[in-house]
Amino acid sequence: MENDIIETVDRIVLEKGKAVEAVIPILQEIQNHYNYLPKEALQRVCETTDITPSRIYGISTFYTQFRHKPVGKHIIKVCVGTACHVKGAMLVYDSFRRNLNLKDNEETDADGQFTIEKVACLGCCTIAPVVQIGSITYGHVTSETVPEVISDFLLAKNGHPTGGTIPYVDSKEIQGEIRIGLGSCCVASGSSGVKEELEKILIKSKINVNVKHVGCVGICNQVPMLEVHKPGESPSYYTKIKPDEVREVIHRHFKPHNPFSRIKSNVYSFFEDLVFDSAPKSLRQYSSENTDTPVAEFLQGQINIATEHRGIIKPSDINEYRKLGGFSALSICLKVKTPSEVIDTIKNSGLRGRGGAGFPTGTKWQLVSNAVSDKKYVICNGDEGDPGAFMDRMLLESYPFRVIEGIIIAAYAVGANEGLFYIRAEYPLALIRIREALSICEKEGLLGNNILGTNFSFNLKIFEGAGAFVCGEETALIASVEGKRGYPTMRPPYPANEGLRGKPTLINNVETYSMVSWIIRNSAESFHNIGTKFSKGTKVFALAGKINRGGLIEVPMGITIRKIVEEIGGGIPNGKQFKAVQIGGPSGGCIPASMADTPIDYHSLIQVGAMMGSGGLIVLDETDCMVDIARYFLTFTQDQSCGRCTFCRIGTRRMLEILNKITSGKGTLADLDTLEKLAASTKRGSICGLGKSAPNPVLTTLKYFRDEYEAHINGHCPTGKCKEMITYDITDECIGCTKCAQRCPSDAIKAKPYELHHIDVEKCIKCDICKQICPVNAVVTK
């Protein structure tokens, strides 16, 4: 063991270097190898590098990615992002703990099989609640289906290997093209199962069809989706497709060469188990010609700039990207425009930073360009950490070349020769795609020395973020790249003057860079013509929560909340009332349905107490408790606080404690007063954006839903969401089916066939299973 550790660490150090800045990559590599950070390994690092014990401990305990204890064979990641939260992620988490017999603070089960952890957001919000075990992602998990998820995972582990190559059948006659999305949501919803099934059937039935893997199709809660394109026919869309439905889809459009293959109808239940989708079984086919279909409605009103060629483009195909105009903007910039002309174009377009604060992008570029230095850097901020936001992930996964093109243009404009892609380690697919794209670009002469034959040289590397929301703040991000704890620093100095390694540094977020090439190709005016007076162009939102059609949308600035919710999103499911939208994640706020006509732009959102944030948009319905939402976000921010300044470190914690008090029915009116004042002083007194915006969810819910706070103080949670304030009961509707009694994990319900059942409130642990499985909705909360 000892020798092995020395060997392994030495190998890693050799590869990553001995400098202090290598600390995070070294730790990541050690953890990749051992699954955790053995103490001996850390000691060895200190012995052989410039990294001190103080630093290695400081770093490895700051970033959530790092573990100091060995873990089980498989890690169960329960997503507790916003969309998952409102759909019962905590009940799912509790259910896993129960099913694995975890006591107190235990995280690993007795057999060392599973370790459970909560993750801030897996970015699969449209199929919430989401759980990831190993490399398999399960969507729509409920506390009741947890045992099935576990056994399915174990089955999958021992059974079917996945993967396979794309089959191409030799033939002169290509009958058509079938497109399938392979973004993270699609894959989590079972698109790889559908893909395999599709390929299998095509091979067996010898149908000659092009299968094209495209990136995110945007309409994430209708996935897996198949698009069938056939000459002479208008394209057809099949949504929420399952592997066992693939056969029929294919046979609707294409004639097989082997007549017998149609008769065979195998049910590939394994693939179906890839995800427990509650979607109905019938085929959902929509023609592209009809405008009243969900797909058409979803796409209507959207403008694709960052997401240009959505659903068409294959993420890693540089030739296709080029065919569709890719890298022509870069070429124009490098060969025709001067850097200051590029900056002027961006300035004139009115583009503002899409990371949240909305700082004018052209001005930022100008500042970095003006800074005098022998060395400058460009950083792409892909540390998207908002629970309930997945725009950057989608853009990175689906349009890697577009993002890269934007970065190179920016580097040219500001005069930087080195760049960094900062991407969360929680986004494995995005990392793979970007890595692939970078190496293609290097081969194609788009990165490196003398790009496109010009004098301009630029290198771009990836830095994997180790899990700290605060690193989305630019100064904290720089600190973490430099091998420090992710502490934001006071500005000035701004990164534009003194950034990475003390040099002028441009930091923009993924979405901002994604807009650059479009602006160059289509002119500043075209971009400027979209949007409102002070907010130009489009904004990408991750639409999720209580909405019929969630997904990634790109809409013009100034669009109203109502239009997004009702038209693009198709309203609230299950006949429930629209209550509010939470916009901007933990930095944003809740805007009530009564203000749904608020246009979405930087200014209007600040006016109503929210902010653009990075673009998470969670729709809430009448069953969502607003105090619980406020508490949810505070739980997140106080967990993510770097812990440096007093207001954020202690202030957010105290606010959370007051909210906990209120949601457990112990709050007083005086608490509301303290909460409001503390929120105001935390907002004013914190150093960085995280602390300054953390009180927003509290302040907006207090402003628009004060009555709900007061109801809690009077001992009543109006929506029945706050676990400590509700009891479960069975009404006369009960038909005595005993299902609830059979599944109750705490023996709170006795099985009495054909009789009215009863819940022993003393024993009840409020896991919600009975309510979920009751066939006649006889279980109610009070």
Binding site: S54, G58, R644, T646
Partner: protein, 528 residues
């Protein structure tokens, strides 16, 4: 050079100066905890917050460089409230007592833990000096005090409280055997003369502190002996010899006793008023005296005096002890005599004596079970010592030292230099405003030779981390974790002695609170 305004005052300072230092250069002191000249100032405490007058934005002045045309406000309500909030938040996360529970329970606010430590070290005279800072009559009280201090002694959670009262008696008794008994040095003579009516506990105590402050005292009493109600106690309760020892000491200190003298309104009016600068009524229960006839304002319980100053009016008349309200606790009478003396001193134009009772005091209540072990690190395991010679005789020196070692050092080692306490006083903070949630569990790192580290007193400023790292300590200190749970600790679970091999003293000096402090912190400021 940068031109800016601070509190409307125009100044010019070199570029790169922080707002904090710019303010300092014109004599405006901004409170700060985490800032230390010579270190990278990474703001964390937020106590140095100031306001940009133009934008209304608050920011920490220590880390903000001056800019042209800045307009800064350092002390309006807005700014003060923000600082107050920061301090209240810091204190809500602070587990530790400024003063030990015994001391705050003592009506005379005697520094009990310090007395205990000195006795344990065999420095008995120094111990007595500490006692007499607050208690004029320790030998007497050592016999009759009801010892509220022992009722709150944390040692009770382990076994039995420390025998504080007997230890106090020991200091006085031990000294009484000396040829020259201890009397504290007096302030410069003032030539002011005070009449004290009544030679009971409060009168004697009042005289003691007035003498100490440099005044002259004459004590009147109608009895033939000094002692007031003490004279009624049995030999078992208070041996006459003990009373005599302490009365003689006060005589030796310079008090003039006029016994067998019954004071009436005429004497006051015709004799005393004219020849004395102030009069203190320490006459005891007014139902048992003739005070009703003096024409002063009287309530059901006694003379009516200002509750802060003990003044009957503005003409130099004062009262203390049971004359105001019959007292059951002897120590209260002694405490009031002292307080009245300070008040008289102020009336006579002397330097005000700092009133330690009013200082901010952080306290956290009972120890949790695991914390008892932490506290025992500073103590010994033995249960209470019973004086071999019986309770009346009290401790021998050896017994006293053993008993004193049982004290668990509940008080803070930096009660006068802790900035948290300093600013908590200045900003009149509400200690409990944000005391929500469970308090953190206390730990004491006691293994280092000279230094103690108490993490729950830490404000996470990181100065010590920087100092250890700059000085290339092998392990040094580090932040562990983040957010609310972040703490300063030693990497690889090493010991404090490995982390602070050469920087211990520097860290103690840099630490703005009592989190890192010297084990031996006997140097206490004396009451002036």
């Amino acid at each position: 050079m940068i031109h800016l305004k601070i509190n409307n005052q125009a100044i010019t300072v070199p570029a790169g100066t922080s707002v904090l230092n710019a303010a300092k250069s014109i004599g405006i002191d901004i409170p700060t905890m985490c800032y230390l000249q010579g270190n990278s100032n990474h703001p964390s405490c937020m106590v140095c917050i100031v306001k940009n007058a133009k934008s209304g934005v608050l920011f920490p002045s220590c880390a903000m460089p001056v800019e042209q045309e800045m307009d800064i406000i350092t002390n309006d309500d807005d700014v003060r409230n923000a600082r107050k909030d920061a301090l209240e938040l810091l204190l809500s996360d602070h587990v530790g007592d400024c003063e030990a529970p015994c001391r705050t329970a003592c009506p005379a606010f005697m520094d009990i833990p310090q007395m205990n430590r000195l006795i344990a070290q065999g420095k008995h005279l120094d111990a007595l000096r500490v006692v007499k800072e607050e208690i004029a009559l320790p030998f007497i009280l050592g016999h009759i005090c009801s010892a509220p201090c022992e009722k709150v002694c944390r040692r009770k959670q382990v076994d039995n409280p420390v025998s504080i009262c007997l230890l106090k008696r020991f200091t006085a008794f031990n000294d009484s055997k000396n040829q020259l008994a201890f009397l504290p040095e007096k302030n410069q003579a003032t030539n002011k003369k005070i009449a004290i009516i009544g030679a009971g506990l409060s009168g004697l105590a009042c005289a003691f502190y007035l003498l100490k402050l440099g005044h002259n005292c004459v004590i009147f009493d109608s009895n033939s002996e000094a002692g007031g109600t003490l004279l009624q106690l049995s030999e078992n309760e208070l041996p006459k010899e003990v009373l005599k020892v302490e009365v003689d000491l006060i005589k030796a200190y310079g008090a003039e006793f006029r016994l067998n003298t019954t004071i009436n309104p005429e004497i006051i009016k015709n004799e005393i008023k004219n020849s004395f600068n102030a009069i203190v009524f320490a006459t005891g229960d007014i139902t048992k005296s003739n005070l009703n006839d003096f024409g002063y304002s009287v309530s059901k319980t006694g003379l009516v005096a200002d509750s802060d100053t003990y003044a009957l009016d503005g003409t130099g008349l004062f009262a203390c002890g049971s004359a105001l309200h019959p007292l059951k606790m002897a120590v209260k009478a002694v405490a009031q005599g002292k307080e009245a003396a300070f008040s008289v001193n102020k009336f006579l134009g002397g330097m005000p004596v700092s009133n330690r009772y009013d200082r901010f005091n952080s306290k956290f209540g009972l120890l949790q079970p695991s914390e008892i072990d932490e506290y025992l690190k500073e103590s010994v395991a033995d249960d209470v010592i019973t004086p071999k010679g019986g309770r009346l005789i009290g401790f021998t020196a050896e017994e006293a030292m053993l008993e004193a070692k049982r004290c668990m050092h509940c008080d803070c080692r930096k009660p006068d230099t802790c900035k948290l306490r300093l600013y908590a006083d200045e900003y009149k903070i509400d200690r409990k405003k944000y005391s929500l949630g469970e308090r953190k569990t206390l730990k004491k790192h006691f293994q280092h030779e000279t230094v103690v580290y108490e993490p729950e007193k830490c404000i996470r400023c990181g100065l010590c981390i920087e100092i250890t790292s700059k000085n290339r300590e092998l392990t040094g200190l580090t932040y562990i974790g983040r957010g609310f749970d972040v703490r300063v600790d030693i990497p690889f679970n090493r010991e404090l002695s490995e982390a602070l091999t050469q920087t211990a003293k520097d860290c103690v000096d840099a630490c703005p609170t009592g989190a890192i402090s010297l084990k031996e912190s006997n140097a206490k400021t004396e009451r002036r």
